[in-house]
Symmetry: C2
Subunit: 180 residues, 2 copies
DNA sequence: CGAATCGTTGAAAGCAGTCAACTAGGGTGG
DNA sequence: CCACCCTAGTTGACTGCTTTCAACGATTCG
């Protein structure tokens, strides 16, 4: 596995791991600006693929490592990035281990909105380029449970289901469900 | 939170996060040689405490950061550590999101045995210094489910429950359940 | 010897999973 | 143009794994 480092410039990617029997856990979604490839270096079946068209900036591993050696400043930056990702991973463990389906979905929607907002988008309408199966595999649920929970949040007036996304009708209530 | 870095020299610690309502997720156990404090720097309620007596080597954050700046070599080491932890975190996400209670417990026992073995211990008898509640909060289960699963594995001849630990009677079967 | 804590076990409930049918778009080819 | 199919998503009925509630046993400690 001669993987490389990537900088995602445009599009959305899913990062996941597979069990031998096919069960999948998506460990994260990547958005433009995200840095990929740190973790795939270590052993284990780690995969990433695009959701829709993407533009990436690819760095061969070895040359990149050499390049970094000369720039301790850059290494620090990489390190901060790894630590941030580690923190996000820990947050996600809390979600997977200790939250209900409704909390999971609400947390996902609010978090996804915030990430898109940070890239400079509107905050009420939230596009969801990934499939329900992707969301299910990210939240440790089944596709049916995700669908039912979306419907419930819609009926409750928290969100409105739109083609290709949702609208956060009641952000406060959604954030309450996501309360960390 | 002026936390510091720590190097655990002796003993066992639990690292966890709490939800506002008290739900707890243990994100990892630390053993001698483990490096703590990278993630607690970032915001969020992150806690760590000792399971039994511990000996740690403490580094104040600021001086340590300055010290590192002069040693790019050391920074690389730290970075590798962070990446390794990130990989473990991803493995644990798979466990929390996609595995059954029995698989979770078996995976935990095999993994814990391997970590102890790496520190130079026997491999058949596995001491478990943490409580059932700790194990439950690590695996995203309840204490009752953990207890029942232990009992089941015992009845099935996979393990033998001992005071303060277990014996891996059938490592092959346990590893099959933990199959990653 | 209680009192307290930890762990185990049982019975019942509930949340999410499974199985299956149905709907809605979207693309293709006749 | 429309019939057809294929995929994604929704919904329903039911199952079942894990949780919840509760009692009991074991060990420790004051």
């Amino acid at each position: 596995m001669t993987t490389s480092f990537y900088n995602l410039l445009e599009g959305v990617m899913r990062l996941y791991k597979l069990l031998p029997d096919g069960r999948r856990q998506i460990v994260g979604f990547a958005l433009p600006g995200d840095f990929l490839g740190m973790t795939s270096s270590s052993r284990h079946n780690f995969s990433a693929d695009a959701i829709g068209p993407v533009v990436v900036c690819r760095f061969s591993r070895a040359p990149f490592a050499r390049f970094i050696d000369d720039k301790p400043h850059l290494l620090r930056r990489i390190n901060e990035l790894a630590v941030r990702e580690l923190g996000q991973a820990q947050d996600h463990m809390v979600l997977l281990g200790r939250r209900s389906a409704e909390e999971k979905v609400a947390t996902f929607l609010v978090g996804w909105r915030d990430r898109l907002a940070a890239l400079g988008g509107k905050t009420t309408t939230v596009p969801l380029p990934m499939s329900r199966q992707d969301i299910a595999d990210y939240l440790g649920l089944t596709i049916e449970t995700v669908s039912r929970t979306f419907t419930k949040l819609d009926r409750d007036g928290v969100i409105e289901i739109l083609p290709g996304g949702i609208s956060l009708l009641d952000p406060a209530r959604a954030e309450a469900l996501a309360a960390a």
